[in-house]
């Protein structure tokens, strides 16, 4: 049930059942169940990339579609990554309806600083982002990533020893 902006009423206005249901019942139902989509990774293999330009992580599963009523959309992602090269950076961004949400190096990055006795290191990356200015229409939000060098891995619940983590992404209209 889509949200409908309620009409301002005056004294002595007749509130019919249709008006009541539209302004109150349907809108409360819509607010209880806003447009949203989510995906939790539970894949057959992890994701890796060497791309130095932003690329879709998974153009099918991490491309979430919602049909909004014109409000702001909140996006969240959390996952565990691995970098294999000292000093490399892993950048994340969102693609909204085919355009990058943030310019330049995107919305967040993590820099690999090799731990003692090893050349690779794992790190959780998480962000929550508010997207404003969207029209009331269908929208698609995709997770994108790039590296400054080396190879980045996103664990995808694929059974990797000690890294069998299930990342999640969700989008929800929040206003």
């Amino acid at each position: 049930m889509a949200y409908t902006a309620p009409t301002t009423r005056s004294t002595d206005d007749l509130i019919t059942s249709t008006i009541w249901n539209t302004d109150l019942v349907d809108n409360i139902a819509a607010l209880k169940d806003p447009p949203s989509a989510n995906y939790e990774l539970n894949e057959g293999s992890d994701y890796t990339t060497t791309s130095t330009s932003f690329a879709d992580v998974d153009a099918t599963n991490l491309a979430l579609a919602v049909t909004t009523t014109g409000g702001d959309v909140m996006v969240h992602f959390h996952g565990t990554f691995q970098g294999n090269t000292l000093g490399m950076r892993i950048f994340l961004n969102l693609d909204v309806d085919g355009s990058p949400h943030a310019a330049d190096d995107g919305i967040i990055f993590w820099r690999e600083t090799t731990g003692a006795g090893g050349t690779t290191i794992n790190a959780p990356i998480s962000f929550t982002r508010l997207i404003t200015g969207l029209s009331a229409a269908a929208h698609t939000v995709k997770l994108q990533w790039k590296v400054s060098a080396g190879t980045a891995t996103l664990y995808a619940g694929a059974g990797t020893s000690s890294a069998d983590n299930h990342a999640q992404m969700w989008v929800r209209e929040v206003s």
Binding site: G44, T50, T52, S53, A55, A59, T119, K146, V147, T151
Partner: protein, 135 residues
């Protein structure tokens, strides 16, 4: 903006090496190579021509996943040096423990061997540091 072109590479893939090999032939229109549960894909800039994949075939056919990039080889060398250093340190600590446990009864030859070992360890450490400085 980028797009991804799926490829089939039955011999296996070294993502970093394949990226370098593709860029050497095609140029920087190739942003990288990605692997997902759906397979392997070359990431190209949106400005790349539609038939750019035609240039991939020879590179993919010649790709040897066991061939390391210069950066990967340097990383492997550093890993080996680190492992070698750890082995030397562990062996020396064991030697010291044994010597200190029977210090009053060591012969001159054993003391000389101990001294020589100390010099060898210092020499090894200095070489390790020198390599790390890469001057």
């Amino acid at each position: 903006m980028t797009r991804q072109i799926s490829i089939d590479i039955p011999q296996g893939v070294n993502l970093e090496a394949l990226r370098a090999e593709l860029r050497a032939v095609v140029g920087d229109m190739v942003a990288g190579v990605s692997r997902s549960p759906g397979g392997i894909a070359v990431v190209v800039e949106d400005s790349a021509p539609p038939d750019i994949a035609n240039q991939f075939d020879a590179v993919i056919a010649a790709h040897d996943p066991a061939q390391l990039t210069l950066e990967q080889q340097a990383q492997a060398d550093a890993d080996a040096a680190r492992a070698e250093l750890l082995a030397v340190l562990d062996a020396t600590l064991t030697l010291y423990d044994n010597a200190l446990g029977d210090w009053d009864n060591l012969t001159l030859a054993q003391l000389k061997a101990l001294q020589k070992r100390q010099i060898q360890v210092q020499q090894f450490l200095l070489r390790y540091l020198r390599r790390g400085l890469n001057l």
